[in-house]
Amino acid sequence: MQLAAYIPVWVTIVLSIGFAGLLMLAAMFLGPKRDTAEKLSPFECGMDPIGSPRARFSVKFYQVAILFLVFDVEIAFMYPWAVNYRELSWTAAGTPSAFGFGVMAAFVAFLGVALAYVWRKKAIGWD
Amino acid sequence: MSQKILDRLLEKFPDAVLSTSNFRGDEVAIVKRERALDVLRFLKDDAECLLDMARTVTAIDWLGRDGDRFEMVYQLYSITRKHGVRIKVPVPEDDPTIDTCTTLWPGMNWAEREAWDMYGIKFRGHPDLRRMFMYEEFVGHPLRKDYPKEKRQPLIRREGMV
């Protein structure tokens, strides 16, 4: 099991988490903390806040957010596929093969069914 | 060209119309306060006049004039007939109230709120008569002649600022 092949992946993960974490820690410790009651009150375009921000809001927000997540992840998977598309569509023997295209077509088709279902159920629009 | 509106007014409301005049081409009719709403309704619905657009509603503060201190001014116009007239209604100082005309022209809702805010004339039957521009804590009606121009009522000042 060539674990070594995954070293670049670990390196990027460590770097990204490290960099983000470092910045947040630096901001937390080095940044000046000068909180006043006025500064901590929620920003409501300069007026006194009405009602509490903890009020319950409509479930449709959650629905739209989850649907966005699904199709966003779908696009995220397309990136590595697109980068390796040239190798995927040639077999080792050098003859063109539809494997690369076929794999992604199937993937998109599955999610297309999901999109059709969601569209018909009108879960995407607001009303 | 809208002299015929004044003639119709005189013939329909001889008691309500106090006087009519024509200054620089503007036809003006001064109407008693009690009959003001009927006159306005007539002007709006009558086939001859059909004043379907009220341009603006404002008030004049004749401080120091004998007789009624305030005077409501209705500037009316008809888009189809292309003529217009100005109706003025004297309002006494001790009881500065008048019927609202938002039932005839809903567009005058804010104009009346501004007249209330600036001159202190109450409009009976107005949907929500609140101050149009000034803040609730403001005392007095600023456009009245006896309100000094620079009398501020500050809500907030930095320490050390007057």
Binding site: E44, C45, G46, M47, P49, I50, G51, A55, R56, F57, S58, V59, K60, F61, W126, D127 | F23, R24, G25, D26, V28, D52, M53, A54, R55, T56, T58, I60, D61, V73, Q75, I79, K82, R86, W105, P106, G107, M108, N109, W110, A111, M118, R131, M132, F133, M134, Y135, P142, L143, K149
Partner: protein, 426 residues
């Protein structure tokens, strides 16, 4: 199924009597109800908000994204135009009128000058060239008004390039108007009886070529954005208004024309030389934001046509009425002759004496019918000066337009109402 006896559902104080559910107690009607019960939330789109153009406070009661009720509060930019003008002479009021609708300041100047001239009854004595110059500068100012309104609204809907292109065209017009009036924005160029100074030499050729380039920018923006699917979806039937509603609510200008009423003061009650001009008035049909956008887009082209006709018909002549009681005498006369000095002193010190009386005069401003109601008492200062602000009445209906609309519809409605704080709150 026997109805389980359950305690009455308590109504929370302060929240309007809407069907309120306490978690965990599901009544029978909740199971088969179409939507899940929601509670309205009050949101504060306060004065300092980009979509509110900085000075309108709106408290909206929102059910998720759907707006149930909107209460618009003004007053954050009330600069007491009417109180200030009661303490200023007629000539001193011109700078205040610049700052009413500061997007098309010259239309205000011309409107106020016409009102005072009507009160003085000298409308026919204004020299021809002054009237042509007034028409030219107010039409150029109208173009800058529409450029700013369309540019800012497109930017608020995401089309930042349209904003930059239109701002580029507006900069050209600002520099041209600056050559004539001396200021980019607050010109105070018009006076009672005429204008301050004649057009600089060679200005007309420069503006002729400039207008062709402005027209090219307008066409470019029109082709880019007017047909855009996303843009049309955001603008079409957002805040539609019928003819009767528009007239009843006092709409005028591009808003009223988008609702299907072809009322334009330049056509219905022509002032200056608009009756000699040949231009047409665009009229929409649904009265929604898209129609208001297109009406303004077409109106800009008509204004360019008017300016070109003015250039062709204009002849040299003096630019202000030569009446000592109204117009300041030329400078050499002021220093070299007693009458000139007396005239100059009288006009500056106690203003132009307007005979007692009340007049209402109106002209076509950037947003619609701009009226000035002057009560004169014979002194050099008006006893009362009321300004009919066109966007005051269009904004009044913004609450009704966005009822049952989505929160994102607030932006086009406010953009197309072309709410200008100075004019709306005077």
């Amino acid at each position: 199924m026997q109805e389980p006896s359950k305690p009455p559902v308590p109504v929370l104080p302060g929240v309007p009597a809407q069907r309120t559910v306490v978690l965990g107690q599901r009544g029978a009607q909740d199971l088969d109800s179409d939507g899940l019960p929601t509670e309205p939330m009050k949101i504060n789109m306060g004065p300092s908000h980009p979509a509110m153009h900085g000075t309108v406070r709106m408290v909206i009661t929102v059910d998720g994204e759907r707006i149930r009720d909107a209460d618009i509060q003004l007053g954050y930019m009330h600069r007491c135009f009417e109180k200030e003008s009661e303490y200023a002479t007629y000539t001193q009021i011109f700078p205040y009128t610049d700052r009413l609708n500061y997007v098309s300041p010259l239309c205000n100047n011309v409107g106020f000058a016409l009102a005072v001239e009507k009160a003085l009854d000298i409308t026919r004595k204004i020299p021809e060239r002054a009237q042509y110059i007034r028409m030219i500068v107010s039409e150029l100012s109208r173009i800058t008004d529409h450029l700013t309104c369309l540019g800012a609204s497109s930017m608020e809907l995401g089309a930042f390039t349209i904003f930059l292109w239109m701002l580029k065209a507006r900069e050209w017009l600002f520099t041209d108007l600056e050559e004539v009036t001396g200021a980019r924005l607050t010109h105070s160029y018009v006076r009672v009886g005429g204008v301050v100074a004649d057009l600089p030499t060679g200005w007309i050729e420069k503006v002729r070529d400039r207008l062709t380039r402005v027209e090219a920018v307008i066409d470019e923006c029109d082709q880019t954005i007017s047909g855009l699917r996303i843009f049309r979806d955001r603008m079409e039937n957002v805040g539609p208004f019928t003819r009767e509603q528009a007239i009843a609510w006092g709409w005028t200008g591009p808003a009223l024309r988008s609702a299907g009423v072809d009322y334009d003061v330049r056509k219905d009650a022509p002032y200056l030389f608009y009756d000699r001009m040949e231009f047409d008035v665009p009229v929409g049909d649904r009265g929604d934001c898209y129609d208001r956008f297109m009406v303004r887009m077409i109106e800009m082209r008509q204004s360019i046509k008017i300016v070109r006709q003015c250039f062709d018909q204009m002849k040299p002549g003096d630019v202000i009425v030569d009446d000592g009681r109204i117009a300041l005498p030329p400078k050499n006369e002021v220093y070299n002759s007693i009458e000139g000095m007396i005239n100059h002193f009288k006009i500056i010190m106690d203003g132009i004496r307007v005979p007692p009386g009340e007049t209402y005069s109106y002209s076509e401003g950037g947003n619609g019918e701009l009226g000035f109601f002057i009560v004169a008492d014979g002194s050099g200062r008006p006893y009362k000066l009321h300004c009919r602000a066109p966007c005051f009445y269009v904004l009044q209906t913004a609450g009704a337009q966005i009822k049952n609309a989505l929160i994102s519809d607030i932006v086009p409605v406010f953009g197309m109402a072309n709410y200008i704080a100075g004019e709306c709150e005077r």
